[in-house]
Amino acid sequence: MCTPIGLRQQPIHRRRRRNRVNIIVCVKQIPDPETPASSFKVDEAARKVIPAQGIAPVVNPFDPQATEAALRLKDATGEGKVTVISLGPDSARDAIKHALAMGADEGVLLNDPGFEGIDNFQTAVALSKAIQKLGGADLVLMGRQAADWDMGVVPAGVGQILGMPVVTVAKAIESTPAGLRVERVLDDGFQTVEVGLPAIVSVSNEFGGPRYPQLRQIMLAARKTVQVWSAADIGLGSDETGAANRWLPLEALYVPKVESNVEIIEGDSPEEKARNLAQKLRAAKLI
């Protein structure tokens, strides 16, 4: 179980001024999800994506939005601390640095050869252990899904493992006396929910754009501490790490074939092309 710190222990009338909110944000570094299909390559034998030439990895686009949510809540409640965790290779330090430059206070990089090729489920276990090692949090913020595997399971996973309630796909988050009021995006509209702390919230793109780090903050971020923890540091055994211990084994990875049979509609003017298109669609009984 997570230890709640801050918010809930404060007498209500003092909350505005004396609050110390303790927030953890999880950020993942991934290959740029806007990589054009033509540059996207897979090593089928190794079941791995081959990094595209000249396209640097990025922070999962939903995660800076989660960081933004954390910073706004910290600002709104007064005092507090925002800690960023990323599990990944050495380069994932850049994802942490980005969040620190946005204004987060401290970073933790979970880095171990045993993390190579692990799945989202093993990741959820590792993040949970790291959150416990940090002493828990009032709030853990994540992205709605990581745009590499597009699973969207880690928030629920950490919630189940640490016994914290989970609210997913958040569009707006507001601190209330009872905890948080969250507006969620549903398939066909929106839902407003309330949840007590500690809790986990995953943030969606509808939340709005994150702040851009300013030069001064980028320089300040260089001085903020980033601890590096191995699997053993967070108490993970060798039977929990490594691709061999995936919960969801990856049997095959390949690029689907797409054939192009496009007919470009001719015409001397846009209007003529439009007329020709309408005729073609009618001839094909599509309209």
Binding site: P33, T35, A37, F40, V42, F121, R144, A147, D148, W149, D150, G152, V153, G157, Q160, I161, P165, V166, T168, V169, L186, D187, D188, G189, F190, Q191, T192, V193, E194, V195, N205, E206, N245, R246, W247, L248, P249, L250, E251, A252, L253, Y254, V255, P256, S260, V262, I264, I265, P270, E271, K273, A274, R275, L277, A278, L281, R282, A284, L286, I287
Partner: protein
């Protein structure tokens, strides 16, 4: 005795289309030796017949009021109970708001994995093997499970519902367990959809960031209503506030597979394609002939939509 538990969803008293699709997928797996199909749904016994007619061997009606408009936490105990009673080793959910929440929560609770947004499912060597999109649709991944219980959410429109067979019979049981949720629902607002639902439309006209101007959607709406279709949008357009998120097509939006999909000023990013690649016929209207959307189209007009769409509207009116 293994089997398949389908988490069916109802909306406004009716079984949701995704549930029929799940039943069709489950019947396919049953045909490959996966065992009997049990459908769990929150609702009245009346809907049980409908689920059985569409492929379930048995139905479990969860009648607790706390499930209506509830959250994943409310559902967990009832799903666990149904799972224990049915002995199923496969759980199928839709890739919907509910499935996105409940699938992962259930899997972690029962110490197994969930494969999200699957597009193909089969039984191989007595075990479930699924195919899903990864990297926004740039890659396909195939998975199996380490633990005995296999949980999967299924993408919309991948399986055609079976024709209902009212001669099919099956047992109907009622459970009234439900859990408390630490997440309290304060309110829900439905997106006001005018006209045909995006997912049901046979013709969809979608607009993207290249429209450059939210008012251009009025033009697209005029075209789609002339064609008796629906209007959709790319995420870029929704993020700009030009169109409601409920009309977003793609990986994190709606999945559509109309007979005709007209993509106006949409580049065709893999995450958009993930929501409409199943369309029978695609038309691209784009000023860039190299746009990915053009490549996957049947017909493409390479020009400025501002001139093309008004002329297309006029011509469609003439043809009508």
């Amino acid at each position: 005795m293994p089997g398949i538990l389908v988490i069916a969803e109802t909306s406004e008293g009716n079984v949701a289309p995704i549930s029929y699709e799940l039943l069709a997928a489950a019947r396919q797996l049953a045909g490959q030796g996966a065992g009997a199909v049990t459908a769990l749904f929150a609702g009245s016994e009346a809907q049980a017949k409908d689920l059985i007619a569409h492929g379930a061997d048995a139905a479990v009606a969860a009648t607790s009021a706390s499930l209506t408009g509830g959250t994943a936490e409310n559902y967990l105990p009832v799903v666990e109970a149904a799972l224990a009673a049915s002995g199923a080793d496969i759980v199928l959910l839709g890739q919907t708001s509910l499935g996105r929440d409940l699938g992962p929560a259930l899997a972690f609770r029962l110490k197994t994995a969930v494969a999200m947004d699957c597009v193909e499912l089969k039984i191989a060597g007595g075990r479930l093997r699924v195919t899903r999109n990864a990297y926004g649709g740039n890659a396909r991944a195939e998975h199996t499970w380490k633990a005995p219980l296999q949980v999967a959410t299924v993408k919309a429109k991948q399986f055609d519902p079976l024709a209902p067979d009212s001669g099919r019979t099956g047992s109907v049981t009622v459970v009234d367990t439900a859990g408390d949720s630490r997440v309290k629902v304060l309110g829900t607002s439905k997106a006001v959809a005018t006209g045909i639902r995006l997912e049901d439309a046979q013709i969809v006209v979608s607009g993207g960031r290249g429209l450059g101007d939210p008012s251009a959607f009025r033009m697209l709406e005029e075209l789609s209503s002339l064609l008796k279709g629906a209007t959709g949008a790319s995420r870029a357009a929704c993020d700009l506030g030009w169109y409601p998120p409920a009309q977003q097509v793609g990986l994190t939006g709606k999945t559509v597979s109309p007979n005709l999909y007209i993509a106006v000023a949409i580049s065709g990013a893999s995450q958009h394609m993930a929501g409409m690649a199943g369309s029978k016929n695609i038309v691209a209207i784009n000023k860039d002939g190299d746009a990915n959307m053009v490549k996957v189209s049947k017909f493409a007009v390479i020009d400025d939509y501002k001139k093309v769409i008004p002329a297309l509207i006029e011509e469609v009116k003439k043809l009508a």
